[in-house]
């Protein structure tokens, strides 16, 4: 029997990153819970051992239950009748098993029945579940919403809802509406406060809501009558037990078909305000989105891994012209680049997850006591890095998931176009990753300011300063050359102080930075473990050519030509 955790050595490698010691100490407050909870770790080694043991459970469930169910779930999909969703039979089995394994509320504190795991091992579970069935990851991964509830809800709400999530109830985040997609400021779902009942009521319609028939919903709604922008929006908790929300229809999607995407009708649905009024979009949804984006990154990595495995297995087994097709340069190049993109994406995912862990841990400590100046400094540093790495990582890894899924089909040739092989499902499932939780174009909008303010470059300099093994020096020199070119193009574009021109090249600039960062992350992986040196080399060869292309495009671009691109 295979085990998704044990058959992917990269997971263990990333779990044992040197920064984990700090992360775990902060998250566990020096292991204080051991006095109160029989499942709390007593020290760092014990905590790491617990993460591994739980990851092994997940690895086994992914291999034995979730992955074998994926095809049928894809074909059967969920159904809706009388305003309620019924999951596909396989989805119900999956949910049942993750509940029985206690895999809900993973990052929640133990006092609410959670496992109190850091983000890194939590995201590792998301990575494996996505490899098994990306659509199922959506249902399981929506436990992220508990994180937002924990951060912004009051103590009564935490006590009321979080233990229910830990016991296996599912969540949804109800943001999008027919006329409010990327532009959430236009959300119109109406929240009115009733003085007589002393509670809020929601009325209106939401669309494209993943797992819209969830037990507990976080809802973005307009609480301030007469307002039209983001400052009139607040966040609410809707409990399905109270009733008032029905599912009008579910979408017939191209991929992730096991995950129901719902249109919801709110008719006087009783709801609780979460956090403060008017901060719904500006503060809470931004937090929610950042968590969700990290989740999509994990989903992308899982899909990249799955696509690589399908492509590799087929290339080994398929014989043409008297040999396995993997022996042909045109094919082995594709396969090795898929491996390199999957490895680079995974390194980016866990680097980002560590940054998130560091600032969230400090943020949580700050709720108990005032932080010392240097502690506050550290929190700010990691918060900024998480803010910079999340959109870059989500954008790049979701594009790579699509590229890997595309190449997996290409390796299969005509067979890949048939419904008989897994690669066609991966291709359809991957397609949403660079669209939802903000398209790649919107990730660039979030990332570009870190190009301008130099967050990425400063971090690249930190990576440069690490001591590398002599045999990796040459690779490091290449990355330094790439970085120099990145600096050149940034200087070139920003020189004109022309925002439209900057927006026009923004994606290229973010990608150039990403190639340098991904290259350095793989270099560090290779520095710790020889097994990564192939991917480090393959990726750098690819990334260097990409940076050269970007450099050439930008430096030879005539600003006057910008007009030709404007069709209207």
């Amino acid at each position: 029997m295979a085990n998704y955790y044990l058959d992917t050595p990269g997971l263990k490698h990333h779990l044992h990153h040197p920064l984990m010691k700090r992360i775990v100490e902060l998250k566990e407050r020096n292991y204080a819970d051991k006095e109160t909870y029989d499942y709390a770790p007593v020290d760092f080694e014990d905590a790491m051992d617990s993460y591994e043991k739980v990851l092994e459970i997940v690895g086994e469930i992914c291999d034995e239950i979730i992955a074998p169910n994926a095809e049928e779930v894809d074909h059967e999909g969920p159904t809706v009748s009388d305003g309620r969703v019924t999951y596909a039979a396989g989805t119900q089995v999956n949910l049942d098993v993750v509940r029985k394994a206690g895999l809900m509320g993973i990052t929640m504190p133990r006092r609410y029945d959670g496992l109190n795991f850091p983000v890194v091992p939590y995201i590792m579970i998301a990575d494996m579940v996505s490899r098994a069935d990306a659509g199922f990851e959506n249902l399981w991964g929506l436990q992220d919403c508990a994180e937002t509830l924990y951060e912004f809800g009051n103590e009564d709400q935490r006590k009321k809802y979080i233990p229910r999530v830990c016991a296996g109830e599912t969540m949804s985040m109800d943001l999008t509406e027919p006329d409010a997609g990327s532009d959430l400021q236009s959300v119109m779902l109406k929240a009115t406060f009733s003085e007589t009942d002393n509670c809020w009521y929601l009325n209106g319609v939401k669309r494209f809501i993943t797992n819209g028939d969830a037990d507990i919903h976080l809802v973005l709604a307009r609480s301030e009558e007469g307002t039209r922008d983001g400052r009139g929006l607040s966040m609410f908790i809707y409990d399905k037990r109270n009733g008032g929300v029905t599912v009008r229809r579910i979408e017939n999607k191209m991929g992730i078909k096991g995950s129901p995407t719902c249109e919801l009708v709110y008719r006087n649905a009783k709801a609780e305000l979460c956090g403060e009024r008017k901060l719904g979009l500006i503060k809470y949804v931004m937090g929610l989105m950042n968590n969700a984006r990290l989740g999509i990154m994990a989903q992308s990595v899982g899909l990249s891994e799955a696509a690589y495995r399908e492509g590799f297995a087929y290339a080994m087994e398929r014989k043409q012209f008297g040999k396995a097709i993997i022996e042909f340069p045109a094919v082995y190049e594709m396969v090795s680049l898929m491996r390199a993109k999957a490895d680079a994406s995974r390194s980016m995912l866990y680097e980002t997850a560590r940054f998130v862990d560091m600032y969230k841990a400090w943020d949580d400590v700050s709720k108990e006591r005032k932080l010392e100046p240097e502690e506050r400094q550290e929190m700010k540093k990691y918060s900024k890095l998480a803010d910079a790495f999340t959109p870059m990582g989500k954008g790049m890894t979701s594009e790579y998931a699509n590229q890997n899924a595309y190449d997996a089909i290409q390796i299969h040739g005509g067979s890949g176009f048939m419904k008989d092989y897994t690669c066609e499902r991966l291709y359809r499932d991957a397609r949403i990753t660079n669209i939802y939780e903000g398209t790649t174009q919107l990730q660039v909008v979030a990332a570009i300011r870190h190009v301008i303010t130099g967050t990425y470059l400063a971090q690249i300099r930190e990576y440069e300063a690490i001591g590398y093994k002599p045999e990796l020096e040459e690779l490091k020199n290449r990355l330094m050359e790439m970085t120099a070119k990145y600096e050149e193009v940034v200087a070139h574009v920003t020189e004109y102080k022309d925002n439209e021109y900057l927006d026009f090249h923004a994606r290229r600039l973010v990608e150039a930075a990403a190639h340098c960062i991904f290259g350095y992350l793989l270099l560090q992986d290779a520095n710790r473990d020889e097994a990564f040196s192939r991917s480090a080399r393959v990726y750098t060869a690819y990334g260097r050519a990409e940076v050269d292309k970007i450099h050439s495009y930008i430096t030879t671009f005539d600003r006057k030509d910008l007009g030709f691109f404007k069709i209207v």
Partner: protein
Amino acid sequence: MSYKIIVLAKQVPDTRNVGKDAMKADGTVNRAALPAIFNPEDLNALEQALRLKDLYPGTTVTLLTMGPGRAAEIIREGLYRGADGGYLLTDRAFAGADTLATSYALSMAIRKIKEYDLILCGRQAIDGDTAQVGPQVAEKLGLSQVTYAEEIRGINKERITVKRRLERGIEIVEAALPAVVTVNGSAAPCRPRHAKQVQKYKHAKTVTEKQDADTDYTQLFHNRPYLDLQEWSVADVGADVVQCGLSGSPTKVKKIENVVFQAKENKALKPTDEAIDELMRELIHNHTI
């Protein structure tokens, strides 16, 4: 109402993933080359026990296993899934036991446990495939027995109702408690290990394991008595040494033959009566038919 349930479980080599070095040259199983696992049908039995525990709060599930020191893992695996405790029967004198000696040892341990309403075990173990141990335990203890169980349909203090899966259909039977029920592989699969239980019980160890362990969690054992796993020797269960292990096993291996499965190439036959006659003769000659 609550029940005291004992689940008999065995650690077995994973014969489902047999590689080329699965057998030693002398024809015995190379246990080192095969991962040791919880016998699959014993997991089905454990699930039936845990379902009763879910239904009847206060019910306890105790594992009993016989094997070398490392078989303590079976008890931990049970604890991870929701069992309450377990005993490991381990002693050099138990080694080399056939089904008779095994059921004798297990029945002695069950007598020592004393209080129980129900004994569950898998139909058979994948290393021996005898399906004898469960029924023999029932005989030795003078209990009623139900084999090939697929589902426990009901239970009260006097009786248990069980659905049996037979070759040509199903049968619903009742038996007086206490009873031994052997569970079929077609029964519900066992629940996964639970993340919290794993963290709670992962340090659970037998005395022997504690002596061999390199990490020191002494303080932990002091504060958490549930981490002590019980080991029982022949003397602990008051068994007669002669009836245990090799000396208590009338089964003798006469001969071991290595059978190698080989996929032979296809043979094309002409669609004529002569060709078919020729094939018949060949099959009769090599005793295929």
